[in-house]
């Protein structure tokens, strides 16, 4: 335990509080759950099943989300490698995949076209929802919110546990759908009707689609249970002194992300419910005037565009649900490793709020080609382009934080810088697509694919990696290997640019997304080499991820042991023991006196002052107005 002692001078109040222990509190009211805070310590020898499986401890639940997320990421990546094989080598044989894919590879060694659609659909669904929503928010909101706001656990540990198990159930259903005879859902991750509404439309519209909807319904329940918990914890369980204006930006990001989820996922639930009724109960919410195989269907009066409205009302906030946690973690990692306060703390909060508000009023930019009234289109275009403003504020502040910083290039820092780079590259094409006139040309081409893979897919993954490298010591009490981290970073960073940059070119030329075969079009044959190049880069970048996977699991068991505060960071989680037990702090919860970004404060003897150090202990560095607070 000797390495647990904080370095002298660094976090005095932790030491001061060390021995006191929690004072027993008289219980007077049955209803009051705040009291449970102090009862937690009693459950020392729990059965392993309750400790590791049905745990209600937020740190354990975070790890469950992370491991499940990693599983899904590997699967999602594998699926993309499969369809990149098809796109890169359209004439090639897939005979050698027959042992794995079985009937999905034809006698002639060709990938089944229906299966190709299923692949892109499942890849999108898995990455957006299971990895970058559940795996990212689920992991880090769970892990960091209680630790950074100074709480013993989430507001409701039970609901938190349910949140994971609903996610698990949803995962099981989605995973099983991969193995059914007719294949998984194949209508794209946006599951537009009528393809998704008519079980007889294509093989993937049958049982696979039903399972998709069931799985997503469970997923939404999981998100809501998690989200209400995160918000409540931030509102109610902050430690003494942790006012909203002293919260780390991570917490602000998780908080607003959870609010977006609470307000937008129910709308997807509504849409899914109506779709289920259309599929199985003979309603016609999204169906009208349809002929299948020459037969007129009886469905009358529905509108597929209505589904798009409902879907994108969730869909657009969803992309910010994916990116905002990454933004928060990147802010934190950048400030810590540049040894500088985050530039424009309040502007960072303001821009997060701005993005959150705007994200609810731009959804129709995904629908410019649905024949909407051009005036309405220009309103949505205007609102969409305004998002560039808060996004620009954030980028400016990240760059200004780096500017003349005393930068430590840890693996987490590299990924954080990579995030900023990718967010800029991808954001720029967003501004192009936000213009209705340009979008009508570009819609449903690889240009859109390139846009959202840079700005959402890759960026959010980079945020996720930054978070894992940075908080791994707190999660597992050990360090990840930095050298492997560097190799992982450079492979991935070069990889994503090599994959997605060329997609812009083919996209501008009109190359359509979701096409199984493009060899029939003369216009696109010239891109044969480009496609091969993209595929090779994608597969190498994907294989590079196994360096991370190895590093991750190896370090859990064999990594170098971590110290209590390996990055010399200011936030509260680093004042907890190396591997915090149930209840997070053995003694009292530290109180907070200052904002989370006192790095390299002029006059201070150390280059960081944790949030729980009172001003009375830092006379040399106090600013004039802080002197009054030192009394």
């Amino acid at each position: 335990m000797s390495d647990m002692t904080p370095k002298p001078n660094l976090s005095p109040s932790v030491e001061a509080q060390g021995g006191r222990g929690s004072a027993p509190v008289p219980a007077t009211e049955h209803d009051d759950h705040l009291l449970h805070d102090d009862h937690h310590h009693e459950h020392h020898d729990q059965h392993w099943l309750w400790k590791y499986v049905f745990s209600q401890d937020h740190k354990q639940i975070a790890k469950q989300f992370l491991i499940t997320g990693i599983f899904w990421a590997i699967l999602g990546g594998t699926l993309s490698s499969l369809f990149r094989l098809q796109l890169g080598w359209p004439e090639g044989t897939m005979e050698w995949l027959k042992p794995i894919l079985g009937g999905w590879v034809s006698e002639a060694g060709k990938l089944d076209p229906e299966f190709y659609l299923a692949l892109v659909t499942m890849h999108g669904t898995i990455m957006v929802f299971f990895v970058l929503t559940a795996g990212l928010s689920g992991t880090f909101s769970n892990f960091l919110i209680p630790l950074q706001v100074g709480a013993r656990d989430m507001a409701s540990g039970f609901m938190n546990m349910l949140s994971y198990w609903f996610f698990f159930l949803s995962s099981v259903v989605m995973f099983s759908s991969l193995f059914i005879e007719t294949g998984p859902a194949a209508a794209g991750w946006t599951i537009y009707p009528p393809l998704s509404a008519l079980p007889q439309a294509i093989p993937g519209s049958g049982t696979g689609m039903t399972m998709w909807l069931v799985s997503m319904a469970l997923f939404i329940v999981s998100q809501l249970l998690g989200g209400v918990n995160y918000v409540t914890t931030v509102i109610n369980l902050r430690t003494r002194g942790m006012s909203m204006s002293k919260l780390p930006l991570t917490i602000w990001a998780f908080f607003l992300t959870a609010i977006l989820g609470i307000l937008s996922f129910p709308v997807l639930f509504s849409a899914a419910l109506l779709l289920i009724f259309d599929r199985s109960f003979g309603t016609s919410f999204f169906l009208s005037d349809i002929y299948i195989a020459g037969q007129a269907l009886s469905n009358q009066g529905g509108s597929p565009v209505l589904f798009q409205h409902l879907f994108w009302f969730l869909g657009h906030p969803e992309v910010y649900i994916v990116i905002m946690p990454a933004m928060g973690m990147v802010s934190e990692v950048l400030a810590t490793n540049a040894r500088k306060p985050i530039f424009g703390y309040r502007a960072m909060i303001g821009s997060l709020i701005g993005i959150s508000l705007l994200s609810f009023v731009v959804w129709a930019h995904h629908m410019f080609v649905t024949g909407m009234n051009p005036f309405l289109g220009s309103v949505f275009m205007f609102l969409t382009l305004i998002i560039a403003v808060p996004s620009g504020v954030k980028v400016f502040n990240w760059l200004a934080t780096l500017w003349r910083g005393n930068i430590r290039f840890t693996a987490a820092m590299l990924f954080a810088i990579g995030f900023v780079s990718l967010f800029i590259s991808g954001g720029l094409t967003g501004i192009i697509l936000g213009n209705a006139t340009l979008d009508i040309q570009m819609h449903n081409t690889y240009f859109v694919v390139a846009h959202f893979h840079l700005v959402m897919g890759s960026s959010a993954f980079f945020g996720l990696f930054a978070g894992v490298y940075h908080w791994f010591p707190k999660m597992f009490g050990r360090m990840m290997d930095e050298k492997l981290g560097y190799i992982h970073f450079w492979l991935t960073f070069a990889g994503v640019y090599l994959v997605f940059m060329p997609m812009h070119y083919v996209g501008i030329a009109g190359f359509p997304r979701r096409y199984y075969a493009w060899t029939g079009f003369d216009a696109f044959s010239q891109f044969a080499d480009m496609n091969k190049f993209i595929s090779i880069a994608a597969i190498i970048a994907f294989l590079g991820q196994f360096i991370f996977i190895f590093n991750f699991f190896y370090s859990i068991f064999r990594g170098r042991r971590a110290t209590q505060n390996p990055w010399n960071s200011t936030t509260l989680e680093w004042t907890a023991p190396i591997e915090p037990g149930h209840g997070n702090w053995p003694g009292e919860i530290p109180a907070v006196y200052r904002w989370p970004y006192d790095y390299s404060k002029p006059g201070s003897e150390v280059d960081f002052i944790p949030q729980n150090v009172p001003y009375s202990q830092t006379h040399s560095s106090n600013l004039p107005y802080e002197r009054d607070m030192a009394e």
């Binding site: 004072a23 509190v25 008289p26 007077t28 009211e29 049955h30 209803d31 009051d32 759950h33 705040l34 009291l35 805070d37 102090d38 507001a155 409701s156 609901m159 809501l224 989200g227 209400v228 918990n229 918000v231 409540t232 914890t233 509102i235 109610n236 369980l237 902050r238 430690t239 003494r240 002194g241 942790m242 006012s243 609470i262 307000l263 937008s264 996922f265 129910p266 709308v267 639930f269 509504s270 849409a271 419910l273 109506l274 009724f277 109960f281 003979g282 309603t283 016609s284 919410f285 009208s288 009886s298 009358q300 009066g301 509108s303 565009v305 209505l306 409205h309 409902l310 009302f313 919860i589």
Partner: protein, 196 residues
């Protein structure tokens, strides 16, 4: 005022609400968004034409009165708990439960009236206009069932003397949720009256 200042002083004040109250309010917001989606979908769909008009069963008015009454009895139970009048508290809860069940039964009867008026949920003769009515009523009824379960839990606690003036959290939350469900129904009813 505050029963345990020692504990709360460990925390920032937040909004001054108990965490469970905050959880409930957030869940209510998510339910609101569900119905916002349904009703705005209804409007968008109607404005695109190919929309069949339908008659709203008169029985819905009776159901609306039932649920409004149940809100009143719930509020009465709440006040009784605050004044430690435990007998009235139990009566109030039982009356609310009965009225809630009566409302559900009434909705079921109204489904029958809808069918009798040739408004169907699905099938060849259905139009989204009518299907929407069933969805609105059905999803609301589902939430009402969760409200009834909540009420039953509070009633059990009341029978065990666990609800009184110094233990108001559970009945406070139940009251809030029940009023919300009643208000939601009145909104839906008004919405259908104005837009059918």
């Amino acid at each position: 005022m505050n029963p345990q200042p020692e504990i709360l002083s460990e925390k920032e004040v937040g909004l001054g609400w108990h965490p469970k109250r905050v959880l409930l309010i957030l869940l209510i917001f998510s339910i609101v968004m569900m119905f916002a989606a349904f009703t705005s979908g209804y409007i968008v769909r109607r404005d695109e034409g190919n929309w069949r008009e339908f008659d709203l069963p008169a029985s819905l008015l009776i159901n609306s009165i039932l649920i409004a009454l149940s809100s009143a009895s719930m509020q009465w139970a709440y006040f009784s708990a605050r004044k430690d009048e435990l007998g009235r508290l139990k009566t109030g809860l039982v009356v609310t439960l009965v009225l809630g069940l009566a409302f559900l039964a009434g909705q079921y009867v109204s489904f029958g009236d809808l069918v009798a008026g040739n408004t169907y949920f699905g099938g060849a003769d259905a139009n989204p206009s009518g299907s929407f009515v069933y969805v609105l009523m059905g999803v609301h009824a589902f939430h009402l069932v969760t409200g009834l379960v909540f009420l039953a839990v509070v009633l059990r606690r009341a029978l065990n003397y666990q609800v009184h003036s110094r233990a108001m959290l559970s009945i406070g939350n139940a009251t809030l949720y029940w009023h919300f469900l009643g208000g939601l129904w009145l909104y839906l009813y008004l919405f259908l009256l104005l837009n059918h």
